[in-house]
Amino acid sequence: MSEVLFSATAAAYSVACVLWLVYLRGSEAPSLARAPWVLGVGVVAHVLRDALRWAVEGIAPFAGIGPTLSTLALVIAASMLLLRRAGPRVDVLAAFALPVALGMLLGSRVSHSGGTPSGATFIVHVVANTLGVAAAIVACAVSIAYLLLERQVKAKRLGALFRRLPSLEQLETLSTRSMHVAIPALTVGIITGHVVAARAGRGAGLPWQQLFAMATWVVFVVLAVLRALGAWRGRRAMLGTLAGGAALLLTLAIYAGRG
């Protein structure tokens, strides 16, 4: 059953993503209205699958990097559904976030599942990081949309994206709000991560992984400061967000590889 639900989730995420991408390419797609429903089905299947796995196999949502990746994918997909409330045309941003969610979902299969997490600090660490990474991925999806739209407006080649993406201003606001969620959450994640590592006596072990996570966090904080000061806006801020997102994914990949 768990396998069926996993396949249904992956299929639904893929189909929803393709529907939005086809729409953004300029097709007059009456089926577009179905995309949120397909994504909704995927999210429900995902919740059922993870809940079933927890109940039957005892694998909790944050038990190791594999389940955590799956939870992360679920949070990203659900965020895209909630984001629809932010205004018209915003739902098409799912076209840029769902590939990452799908990658994480598939990655959760090949990554190790550990024991059930214990200790309040560890739970806070994992939950905060999950929220922070999901918000950062949403910010990256928004940044991609912004850069594509901005390029069309700047180059005076107004294509389908021009008519189908939210306005630059709206994208900037969404990106800022996502970062306002991501940075505090990642800060809590990094602090609790150090506490957990210290308690486990791994303070001096694998320093380069922790250093990399720290560097990623610094990128986000610098970005937030530059934005707050008004030094970085628009294109530059979006490129910075993407750089931060790439560093974050690399950090995740390192941790996933470590198991």
């Binding site: 007059e28 005076k156 107004l158 306005s167 630059l168 201003e169 806006r233 294109r235």
Partner: protein, 430 residues
């Protein structure tokens, strides 16, 4: 009752000058009364009047197309006495009339093809006629189908997505950069006609206007009539830090806005985007301004290129839209044939069976079955009626289903011949 003809008589921007259209204009709150007046004309059963700034059209369902055309021509002539209305009127009946209303509602007959207002205006005309009791089943079916056709045209083609004027392209661009324009400030530099049009279009979206001109008096004059604030041209560097959109159209022969000014302004703006529309020829804005981060500069060539692109895009959608109108028209005619063809034949068939069986029953009840009591008689009558209904169920269904096809008429004729039914008058079921 004879099958109703659908007739339209009217005039539009294609056939009548604006002065005549103004003379025939009917305000929204009088549409219902006008429809009622038309419905009372000789030979007219149902009516609806569509009146917009580009067209005045009377749609009627009537017993005789030629009689109603004559009555409607008289109606229009009475409303514009002394004007040569007759020369500007067009008239279509039946399939051509239905096609016309489908095209009108889909905005294929509009001055700006794809404009969204006309569908709402036809809906208002429909509601007004309905409230006044001037509509009946024939027009209701036709106009409802026109709404479906229009909806399909808008959702399945790109006819409504393109931009069609320099001003509307400027508004689209500003909207796609800033989102809503409600809290935005637009600076109008100079007083060129096209620039005024673009500024007016932006203000219509809620933007606040500032006017700067080489002649301060002229700026004050322009600002006063538009509720804007006026500035001398020397204020430009300061204004550039505050406004969101600049529309330039001065008669200057050199750049009014250069890279250094724009760079200095962007520094103060801390990255807030600036949209510059340069409609002047020769250009007022150094093209290198577009290279600055956060500045989007469009000159008149860029805007006109986009207008042409949008128009050609609509051209492609036009064929698709006409195809949808054809499909909807075929479906409507099919349904109409079904409604008109099967109804009278079925009614005649049932009447024939019922009267024959009743006659036989009456004869038996007055002779061989004379001794039956009231209860038995009633039971026997009910049984006979039920038997007739059961016997006729299959042929009724067959007639109804075939009526929508090409064979429908032939089948109805065969049934009428087989049972020697009286020739129907092709009446239309309500």
């Amino acid at each position: 009752m004879a099958r109703a003809s659908i007739v339209v008589v009217g005039l539009s921007h294609r056939t009548a000058p604006v002065e005549l259209r103004e003379q025939l204009a009917v305000p929204l709150d009088s549409l219902g009364a006008a429809a009622k007046e038309i419905a009372a004309l000789p030979g007219v059963r149902e009516a609806m009047l569509v009146a917009t700034c580009n067209r005045v059209e009377a749609y009627v369902a009537s017993e005789s197309a030629s009689r109603s055309v004559e009555a409607l021509r008289g109606f229009f002539a009475r409303r514009a006495p002394g004007a040569a209305v007759g020369d500007c009127l067009y008239e279509y009946s039946d399939e051509r009339a239905v096609r016309h209303v489908f095209r009108v509602a889909s905005s294929l007959d509009s001055m700006v093809v794809g404009e969204p207002q006309i569908l709402g205006q036809v809906k208002e005309a429909y509601a007004a006629a309905d409230s006044a009791g001037a509509l009946g089943p024939t027009l209701r079916r036709a106009i409802s189908r026109a709404f479906s056709a229009a909806k399909r045209v808008r959702s399945e083609t790109g006819i409504a997505t393109g931009r069609v004027s320099v001003a509307s392209v400027a508004v689209d661009l500003a909207t796609q950069i800033f989102g809503t324009l409600g809290s935005r400030r637009v600076l109008l530099l100079g007083a060129g006609k096209m620039a005024l049009g673009a500024a007016r279009a932006l203000v219509a979206q809620g933007a606040k206007l500032s006017v700067a001109n080489r002649s301060y008096d002229r700026a004050v004059e322009l600002a006063r009539s538009r509720g804007a604030d006026a500035h001398p041209l020397e204020d430009l560097p300061l204004l550039l830090t505050a406004v969101d959109v600049v529309v330039c159209s001065t008669g200057a022969s050199r750049y009014v806005l250069n890279v250094d000014d724009a760079k200095a302004a962007m520094k103060v703006r801390r990255g807030r985007p600036l949209f510059v529309v340069d409609i002047a020829v020769p250009r007022n804005v150094d093209p290198r301004v577009n290279d600055l981060d956060g500045v989007y500069l469009y000159d008149v060539d860029d805007l006109e290129r986009e207008v042409s692109r949008a128009l050609s895009l609509r051209g492609g959608s036009l064929q698709q839209a006409e195809k949808i109108v054809d499909e909807e028209l075929s479906a409507f005619e099919r349904d109409r044939r079904a409604q008109a063809g099967a109804g009278p034949t079925i009614a005649a068939l049932r009447e024939h069976f019922r009267s024959t069986v009743r006659a036989e029953l009456e004869r038996s009840l007055s002779t061989k079955l004379k001794g039956l009591g009231d209860a038995e008689r009633a039971a026997l009558e009910a049984m006979v009626d039920a038997a007739v209904n059961k016997l006729l169920h299959a042929p009724t269904m067959a007639l109804r289903s075939q009526a929508a096809t090409e064979d429908g008429e032939a089948m109805a004729a065969v049934v009428r011949a087989l049972f020697r039914l009286p020739e129907d008058d092709r009446g239309e079921e309500p």
